[in-house]
């Protein structure tokens, strides 16, 4: 079924993406019969399988469906790993199943973090485990973040238990202009990265604007050392990538190049671009660069100045993945404001709350609350259930997994959090978290929380973290 879902997803992507002629033909052809640039299909496949769950219903809770809908005194029914029914108090549920009383509690889809480095910058933060930036060249489109993911990072478990995070995208760091491929994971402990890999999720490409690439390479006396250098190296790389992509699409012989394969997939709309970029003026340059080379940025990440160009972002259909209130730690973050998220939201552009941080990922709901409060104080009335889209369907769409998760719709993965109060309150915590219908965290059951290999047998292991 996983493979079937992946094929479905690829078909959907191909149908929806504005791919150049030939791209579809290339993918439709039997892969191994092409020229020497032929790529193996899915060489590091997901081995994730949903853990067993029991049919479960929650009654009487306030439900945010993740797409902006709200049901008071709602009922949700989960079975066979899916959402099988959702509605008001009269929603029929079978007898003889586990029913939880949700009175005074809230149900949401699991939180999705579009920007995490868990596993590739794990705890403990020691050099031996620091695998997030291949900071040896400004263009490393050939690296895949999944090959750095250490599944024993205790941060995954904290994100589950404290943050209700059920899916997350692990990106390479931002030292490089082209940082490499991202990977999307289900937040389920596993022995291998493949055991966490989200079945059928498209890959992303991490790119970075601004200070990081120019500082890292400028300090080594190399290009780029300026923002114009950043753009020049980007453009030269895209010229090569388009050439590679054209040859590949035409079935011509060329030596396989991992970086070019990733970039060619971007140009064919199969890999989604996640672009670290702070300043408004730089985002505008990147938008034009996308038009110059025929690709689209899916989301600007960090984007502390997105509020200055919210109209531009809306008109170009680009999401902004933002912090609640982080600002000022470097020059390009100087103009960060707490109203960034509500202002971008009000302009009608896609808005996402992200963490980029092993602590922030444990409280993305609170980051959203900061934005919600700041927005309301300046007269931007956003309903709680609408704000939850920042943590649910919006990141799911920007990660290409919205057909599978990101909202509580019948048939979708039962990635669900039962919160012990309004999740925008600081006093609220996840009470239970289900992933694909399996109960993987229960605040009332001290045994139902993950202890990574790294923490097992250490002081404090099994402690409520």
């Amino acid at each position: 079924m996983n493979r079937g879902m992946r094929i479905l997803l690829i078909a959907a992507l191909l149908a929806s993406a504005a791919t150049p002629a030939g791209a579809k033909k290339e993918k439709d052809a039997p892969a191994p019969t092409q020229g020497s640039s032929a790529e193996p299909d899915n060489p590091y496949p997901s081995t994730y399988k949903a853990y067993p769950g029991v049919a479960t219903a929650i009654r009487g809770a306030t439900i945010f469906d993740g797409e902006g809908g709200r049901i008071d005194n709602g009922v949700i029914f989960l079975s066979d790993g899916k959402v099988t029914a959702i509605g008001g108090p009269d929603t029929p549920i079978p007898a003889d199943i586990a029913v939880f009383d949700g009175t005074g509690k809230y149900v949401t889809p699991g939180v999705i973090d579009i920007h995490s480095h868990l596993g590739d910058y794990p705890s403990p933060s020691v050099d031996a485990l620091s695998d997030g930036n291949e900071a040896t060249a400004p263009v490393t489109a050939h690296v895949w973040a999944e090959h750095s993911v250490w599944p024993q990072d205790a941060g995954f478990g904290r994100a589950l238990a404290n943050g209700g995070v059920t899916s997350l995208q692990i990106l390479p760091g931002s030292a490089n202009l082209f940082g490499g491929r991202s990977v999307t994971l289900k937040n389920v402990p596993a022995r291998t990265m493949q055991g966490m890999k989200f079945p059928g999720a498209p890959y992303g490409l991490k790119m970075a604007c601004g200070e990081n690439p120019k500082r890292v390479y400028g300090s080594k006396g190399r290009e780029p050392s300026t923002r114009m250098g950043n753009m020049a190296v980007n453009r030269q790389t895209w010229i090569k990538a388009r050439d590679y992509q054209k040859k590949r699409a035409a079935g011509k012989d060329q030596t396989r190049d991992l970086g070019m394969e990733t970039l060619a997939d971007v140009l064919e709309g199969k890999i989604l671009v996640h672009n670290h970029c702070y300043r408004a003026d730089e985002m505008a340059n990147v938008i034009d660069m996308g038009k110059e080379f025929g690709y689209k940025v899916t989301a600007f990440h960090h984007a502390v100045e997105a509020y200055k160009i919210a109209d531009l972002l809306r008109d170009n259909g680009i999401c902004s993945a933002l912090w609640g209130d982080w600002y000022g730690f470097k020059m390009e973050a100087y103009d960060g404001i707490r109203e960034n998220i509500p202002l971008v939201h009000r302009a009608g552009a896609c808005t996402i709350v992200h963490s980029d941080d092993e602590n922030g990922i444990q409280r993305l709901n609170q980051e959203a609350a900061k934005a919600l409060g700041a927005g309301r104080r300046m007269g931007i009335a956003i309903a709680d259930e609408v704000a939850w889209t920042w943590l649910a369907i919006n990141p799911a769409r920007a990660m290409g997994i919205a057909d599978q998760t990101g909202s509580l719709k019948v048939g979708k993965m039962a990635d669900v959090v039962l919160w012990n109060g309004n999740p925008f309150s600081t006093y609220t915590r996840p009470e239970k978290v289900w992933i694909d219908g399996a109960l993987l965290y229960d605040s009332a059951n001290p045994k139902l929380r993950p202890v990574s290999d790294f923490e097992l047998g250490q002081i404090g292991a099994g402690d409520v973290k």
């Binding site: 404290n162 980051e367 104080r377």
Partner: protein, 463 residues
């Protein structure tokens, strides 16, 4: 020691912007909020420092660990709290603000920060937190505190009125002398200069000492003995000989540490290192120790409590982010408080110069833990205490700042909701009884870009 006595300085005329902000808000508000804001406007427009002020009808938190009081009143006169509680009579003629049930707290105190030392951390020219210098212990942050740094205004607007400012090490294990500051809109930021000495004795200390903890401990003890030698015979102390670790200036700076006249803030995280630090009093009995960090403090909480050593912790530190934090847990603060340790919270590890406003988030999350089985949290009042009176007391300033008890500074915040909720924010802030501007660089950017597209003129003309 300059406890300031300021009229509003000329540059605080930015208050006029604050008023216009209030008016704007007032229009959008309804009912009691308008009453509150209208009254505030009156107060702000007549900012005579000596004026008395009463805030009535408040959900009032004193900051001493007690739970909030309904329908409370706080009275401020001559810049100090003269009464706070329920059933307080307001003297006739006192300017009065009806809080209409809204929350009032003491101004919050950050137990660990670098505010005023840093504008943009990654821009070296604006970062005065550390130096590669011939000096260490003698470094005094007080003259470098910039009251006009934007993070001061941003933090003040979020209800932080005082902060412990901590230098970081540049050369060796001692970072120098930290300060306690106020975040008022004036040029007199110092509440107490040279409030403590700072030393690293955990992983960072080992690194600073050349690579090991034994080297750090030996360096520490040797330096303190050199300070003792200096104290005995200042004229004959030769800080230039090959064997001397301290130059004369640094030796002199450590004298009050050895005598206990100046607190020593020690940064350690692991249970092992905490025990080692507590044992330093065997060699130096007068040491007045404050522990910063203590991620594993819960494991040795009874020992810390018995030693009567206050702890300033980073409250939400729950990851084994280093080998000295393998037992880190969010229950750390709750468990230490339960064991009788005086615990404050501050910003450790990151954003210390900028994000003091995270204090309310740290405290709120301590309250949330009470609903998680197996976790230990704090009551609401205890949580507020960790970001108000507890850090003040750790600094020996509990009789002057950090709570709304009689005689404390008139540092007061009126909030639009529960202060520990992330959706809440201050409506008004007073420091030493002086109303503070409620705008900052960020609110001006917000207002400029309330609509992103240009109007009749470029955005640069909207100010």
């Amino acid at each position: 020691m300059s406890y300031k006595n300021h009229p509003l300085p000329p540059f605080a005329l930015s208050l006029s912007k604050g008023r216009s902000f209030f008016r704007k808000k007032g229009k959008a508000s309804t009912g009691s909020a308008r009453t509150v804001l209208g009254a505030l406007f009156f107060v702000l427009s007549t900012p005579a420092f000596t004026q008395s002020l009463a805030i009535t009808g408040a959900t009032l938190a004193i900051g001493d660990g007690s739970e909030p009081i309904r329908n409370g009143t706080v009275l401020i006169s001559a810049g100090k709290v003269t009464a706070a509680g329920a059933g307080i009579a307001v003297p006739p003629g006192t300017k009065t603000i009806d809080a209409g049930g809204k929350w009032v707290t003491p101004g919050l105190v950050s137990g660990y920060s670098r505010v005023g030392l840093v504008e943009v951390p990654a821009v070296n020219e604006t970062n005065d937190a550390s130096a590669r210098s011939p000096f260490s212990a003698a470094i005094d942050v007080a003259p470098a505190i910039n009251p006009l740094a934007n993070p001061i205004a941003i933090s003040r607007t979020a209800g932080i009125t005082r902060a412990v400012v901590v230098p970081s090490t540049g050369t060796g294990i001692f970072a120098g002398q930290g300060a306690v500051v106020d975040l008022g809109a004036d040029m007199n930021a110092i509440t107490r200069a040279r409030a403590f000495q700072y030393v690293e004795l955990g992983e960072e200390g080992a690194k600073d000492a050349g690579g090991s903890r034994p080297a750090a401990i030996l360096t520490f003890k040797t330096m303190l003995r050199e300070a003792q030698a200096f104290a005995k015979a200042p004229a004959s102390y030769d800080g230039r000989s090959k064997d001397a670790l301290l130059n004369r200036v640094d030796a002199e700076a450590l004298v009050p540490v050895v005598t206990g006249a100046m607190p020593l803030m020690v940064h350690v995280e692991s249970a092992r290192d905490i025990v080692t630090v507590l044992s330093l009093r065997q060699d130096f009995p007068a040491l007045k120790i404050i522990i910063a960090g203590a991620a594993e403090g819960w494991m040795v909480a009874p020992q810390i409590a018995a030693a009567k050593v206050p702890v300033i912790a980073g409250g939400l530190d729950d990851l084994p982010s280093s080998f000295e934090k393998l037992a880190a847990t969010q229950s750390n603060v709750g468990r230490m408080v339960k064991a009788g340790v005086a615990v404050s919270m501050g910003l450790m590890d990151r954003d210390e110069g900028l994000q003091l406003r995270l204090a309310t988030q740290q405290a709120g999350n301590m309250v949330a833990l009470n609903k998680v089985q197996g976790a230990t949290g704090l009551s609401w009042g205890q949580a507020l205490r960790t970001i108000s009176s507890a850090p003040a007391e750790a600094m020996g300033l509990g009789d002057r700042i950090g709570s709304l008890k009689v005689g404390r500074a008139g540092d007061v915040v009126l909030w639009d909701g529960d202060p520990l909720e992330m959706t809440s924010a201050p409506i008004a802030v007073w420091i030493d009884g002086v109303p503070q501007p409620i705008d900052n660089r960020q609110t001006k950017l917000r207002d400029r870009y309330a609509t992103p597209s240009e109007g009749a003129l470029p955005k640069a003309y909207e100010w």
